[in-house]
């Protein structure tokens, strides 16, 4: 029997890069602020708007404070890596392209049970939503597959498709290792070697130690600054950075249990309002009509 060469975590990323580069995607780098998903990257958020075609792929480290489990859960962490692909316009054979990418990285499709299970993804803070699926590989979600319909509250024309791979999960199938921290990062170093200590500390921070008062004040200050940059200075990208900071602060406060149910809607509304302003400003600056 031929022993399957284990594809380690960094190999997986290289293979995906190669595959999508071959499809004509621009390989950009991860965004350098705390974000909850690749959707927040300006390459997704802004490129989705307007009529210009665009193809991009990148790794995005994503932070979701409420998902932390002190490194005790084999599957869930407050930080993980997404592989994000945006194809605009959505190609007619995108499902096949996606499945082919899995085959290319080493998932032998016929060995598995693959399902497209209804899931209409939405980000309330970004005013973005789409229609699509979770892709299940043997009952585990490994990718979010979304045809975006709106971003920043604006209808997209043409629409784009977003493929968001959960890299750790795909790696688990490739390596037959079902604990995240035990994954081979490369031939010498494990995922846990790189991330375990960080994971535990961050969980402690998010659930127990973050400074609520400070974060509330920061939220307020960034909110004011966002408004100033967008409304007065018409500085789109610095303004958008503020929105990202607000979104992350919301997540941190939320994980800390500092946001009451009544307040929640109000926080989300504020961030969404500013995201909408960003989208509108983008269209304005690019002389595009708001559709």
């Amino acid at each position: 029997m031929v022993k399957k060469k284990r594809i380690n975590f960094q190999e997986l990323i290289l293979k995906l890069h190669r595959y999508w580069a071959d499809q004509g995607c621009v390989l950009v780098q991860p965004y350098d602020l705390e974000v909850g998903a690749g959707t927040f990257h300006p390459e997704t958020f802004f490129r989705a708007l307007g009529p210009d075609p665009w193809k991009v792929a990148f790794v995005q480290p994503s932070r979701r404070p409420t998902d932390g489990r002190y490194a005790e859960n084999p599957l869930r962490t407050q930080h993980y890596y997404q592989y994000q692909v945006i194809l605009k316009p959505a190609p007619p054979d995108v499902q096949d392209l996606y499945l082919q990418s899995l085959e290319t990285v080493g998932i032998r499709l016929k060995d598995h049970d693959i399902r497209f299970v209804e899931d209409d993804w939405e980000s309330p803070t970004l005013g973005a939503w789409g229609v699509g699926w979770e892709v299940w590989l043997d009952s585990l979600e490994v990718t979010q597959f979304t045809y975006f319909q709106q971003v920043g509250g604006i209808n997209l024309e043409p629409i784009c498709v977003e493929l968001t791979y959960g890299l750790e999960r795909i790696a688990m199938f490739l390596q037959e290792k079902f604990n995240l921290f035990e994954l081979d990062w490369n031939d010498k170093v494990s995922y846990g070697d790189v991330h375990k200590e960080r994971e535990i500390e961050y969980c402690g921070y998010h659930f127990e130690k973050s400074n609520i008062e400070l974060n509330r004040q920061l939220f307020q200050k960034y909110e004011e600054e966002a408004s100033r940059l967008l409304r007065q200075e018409k500085l789109l990208f610095p303004g958008y950075d503020m929105v990202l900071k607000l979104s992350h602060l919301f997540n941190v406060l939320d994980a800390r249990g500092a946001i009451g149910t009544a307040e929640r809607a109000s926080f989300i509304g504020k961030v969404r309002g500013l995201a909408k302003q960003c989208a509108e400003l983008y269209l304005e600056k690019n002389n595009l009509i708001k559709s």
């Binding site: 084999p74 959505a90 007619p92 096949d96 009952s139 585990l140």
Partner: protein, 721 residues
């Protein structure tokens, strides 16, 4: 001539709800469309899998039925001049209708007077083949998906990727957005990914069979049910229907396999295990004959994977990881219970932060309103003993606490169930209740049970609460909701009922009827209204008189619907509902007894008495005051006799009515008054000139009518079978 029609719409995976909707919609809209197009057809079947919608018609006319049209033109007088020659009106009509002279003639028109110039034409039908493209396009565009997506020029549930249209042996060209129909189809995504040419309609079905694809959603569901029954012959479908339907619509080729559940997780409540398995992996928890969970699950895959062992290993591993999470939540929730700290008790104060609804206070307020409401009912109306009373009151206080637990956050459908478990796991709470309220273990179990049962019935056809504590709490909760929303002016409309008020009302009626609880609707409403005014944070509810009436009407509507379902629409239900309702259980008793007596002669007699007295009374509305019948004003023989007979009847029937022996009471009423009332109406003029005597006679009729109608039923409304 007729030919078969086949349409296959190939799509990217349709959501379960959309697939279901599309199939149901097309089943109705296609026949309508064909009828409108005057195309006869037979043998319509609609199939659906996640990747295709299939419309199959065994026989469809190849040509529209021809139409005979008739267009009416000018009247003869205007169409012909004095010499009988065609006028401008005549010629103008021919021109406008592009008609030849031989196509028109003069006819009598039934709705008009005289003769008119009429054009009669036979329009031969178009060929179906020419009508199909537009018809199909329209049908596809009109499927009312709750959410459509755009991916190009079209909108649909999910992108359409291929089209197959065959009429007879011909493949019909049809363009939909950027998709052109052709004569190829596709099999399972991985097993048969390449396009496959289809020769004709029988060939299509043959290929589908070769692909092992099951086109019919019902057939796939059947296969799943069968497989579940194989595992456990006593398998009960309740609670599994939704999962079976969804899982059926996630596959084209159902393939079954079983896997193991680690014993480690059996410490979790069964409901949590089943909910986690259903939610995260769409797999089925299996039960033994005893009802206990097996450490095994059943999964339905889409086709057989090459590495089945690998897939099984993965499923088991994922199950493990998910249950680690559930166990985490379970333990986190119970972490709150340290020493004297109670699990649910800790959440009670937090309920002050959670709104029930704007204007109706918080969940904390609601919990204490429920306590008060339950207390009033069980103390004043039902007169329960102390321990049972305290049990339901405490259940009310803790009834909403589980809504803040991590477990319910993760599995919202488990609200109530989690509360039940957490009471039983909460030693601190139990000790306190034992110490302060002197509750025994049995009562505490009843309390816990009530917290779960407050949500019963969970839907139409689902069971009502089993325990009385659960029933009272379930009633109180729904009343509080109904009275609250109505009180701030929120009512269900014809198409929208976002707060489930109809469901709440139906639940109240079902519980009162099926548990035969001796409580009156109006009394319950009053108690609920007063619990709002005396609560810690009184809500500003509408005027209570009006409110009580609105809620009462709403509940009566539901009551009528429920009763009609059981007793039919003969008018008997309406007759009984027109009387004073009192206890709903008593109402049911009256209905049952009368229903059995429908063919008895005494029933017919009683109905006649009611009918005749009611007629008179209705005609004389307003002419009466509230004073009683005056014996001294009874002058004629028959009216004196009627009064005497009525006196005897009242004496005998009243105690029977009080005991709930309505058949007997009806017998007395019918037999003793039938003859006298007829003689009275035959021989006595009610509307005599003498006003005092006239009023007295009306009062006599009115009392006879009211005696029965207010206590039992207004039989004048009964139409008969």
């Amino acid at each position: 001539m007729r030919q078969p029609l086949l349409i296959e719409i190939g799509v990217e995976e349709l959501p379960n709800g959309h697939l279901k909707l599309a199939v149901e919609h097309l089943k109705k809209s296609l026949p309508e469309a064909f009828k409108k197009a005057r195309l006869g057809f037979e043998g319509l079947e609609i199939y659906g899998t996640p990747r295709r919608l299939v419309i199959s018609i065994k026989e469809l006319e190849t040509r529209q039925l021809s139409q005979e049209i008739q267009v009416v033109g000018p009247a003869k007088a205007a169409a012909l001049d004095a010499e009988g020659k065609p006028t401008q009106a005549y010629l103008g009509f021919l021109k406008s209708q592009k008609a030849a002279d031989k196509e028109v003639s003069f006819r009598e028109i039934p709705s008009k007077k005289g003769e008119y110039l009429v054009l009669e034409r036979k329009i031969s039908g178009k060929n179906t083949i020419n009508l199909l493209p537009d018809l199909i396009r329209e049908q596809i565009a009109n499927i009312p998906f709750t959410r459509k997506m755009r991916w190009g020029p079209l909108q649909f549930s999910r992108p359409i990727r291929w089209l197959l249209v065959f009429f007879g042996d011909k493949s019909i060209p049809l363009v939909l957005g950027s998709v052109c129909s052709s004569n190829v189809t596709y099999g399972h995504r991985l097993l048969h990914p390449k396009p496959v040419r289809v020769k004709n309609i029988p060939d299509y079905f043959k290929k589908i069979e070769q692909f092992k694809i099951i086109l019919s959603p019902e057939k796939r569901r059947q296969m799943i049910r069968q497989e579940l029954k194989k595992e456990n012959p006593f398998f009960k479908e309740e609670g599994y229907q939704d999962l079976i339907e969804e899982v059926g619509n996630l596959v084209e080729i159902p393939f079954f396999f079983k896997g193991k559940l680690s014993h480690h997780f059996l410490e979790l409540p069964e409901e949590v295990l089943a909910a986690s398995m259903a939610k995260y992996q769409r797999i089925f928890a299996l039960r033994k004959k005893t009802g206990k969970l097996k450490p095994t699950f059943l999964a339905v895959l889409n086709g057989k994977p090459k590495d089945l062992n690998g897939v099984r290993r993965h499923y088991e591993w994922v199950l493990n990881a998910r249950l680690v999470d559930s166990l985490f939540f379970f333990k986190e929730d119970q972490k709150l219970s340290k020493g004297d700290t109670e699990i649910l008790g800790s959440e009670l104060n937090a309920l002050k932060e959670v709104d029930f609804y704007k204007g109706l206070g918080t969940l904390y307020d609601k919990s204490f309103r429920l306590e008060k409401l339950c207390q009033e009912i069980v103390e004043k109306d039902l007169r329960w003993d102390r321990e049972k009373r305290i049990s339901v009151q405490q259940a009310a206080i803790y009834s909403k606490c589980d809504l803040l637990t991590k477990m319910v956050y993760e599995f919202p459908s488990l609200q109530g169930v989690i509360g039940h478990y957490y009471v039983l796991l909460d030693k601190a709470l139990q000790n306190r209740l034992h110490r302060d309220e002197k509750l025994t273990e049995i009562t505490i179990h009843a309390l816990a049970r009530a917290i779960e049962e407050q949500y019963y019935p969970r839907g139409a056809g689902q069971p009502i609460p089993e325990t009385m504590e659960g029933a009272i709490l379930a009633l109180a909760d729904r009343l509080d909701t109904l009275v609250g929303f109505f009180g701030i002016g929120i009512y269900p409309t014809g198409s929208e009922d976002p707060f489930g008020l109809r469901r709440a009302a139906t639940g109240i009626i079902r519980i009162l009827l099926e548990k035969k609880i001796p409580l009156s609707i109006d009394n319950l409403i009053d108690r609920s209204i007063s619990s709002y005014s005396s609560s810690l944070n009184p809500a500003a509810l509408e005027n209570s008189q009006e409110l009580r009436q609105k809620v009462s009407e709403f509940l009566r509507e539901r009551l009528a619907i429920q009763l009609r379902e059981a007793f039919g629409s003969t008018g008997l239900v309406e007759a009984v509902l027109s009387s004073e309702i009192g206890h709903v259980a008593d109402l049911l008793n009256r209905l049952s007894q009368l229903n059995q007596a429908l063919n008895e002669p005494y029933f017919q007699q009683a109905a006649k008495v009611q009918e005749r007295t009611q007629n008179i009374v209705r005609a004389a509305k307003g002419a009466m005051d509230h004073s009683g019948v005056r014996e001294d004003l009874l002058v004629e023989g028959p009216e004196k006799e009627l009064w005497r007979a009525f006196g005897v009847c009242r004496q005998q029937a009243e105690p029977l009515m009080n005991k709930g022996e309505y058949q007997q009471a009806t017998k007395i009423y019918g037999t003793s008054l039938y003859e006298p009332i007829h003689i009275f109406f035959d021989q006595v003029l009610v509307n005599t000139e003498n006003e005092e005597i006239r009023k007295n006679r009306l009062k006599l009729c009115s009392e006879i009518y009211t005696f029965y109608a207010s206590r039992i039923a207004d039989l004048s409304q009964f139409k008969g079978s």
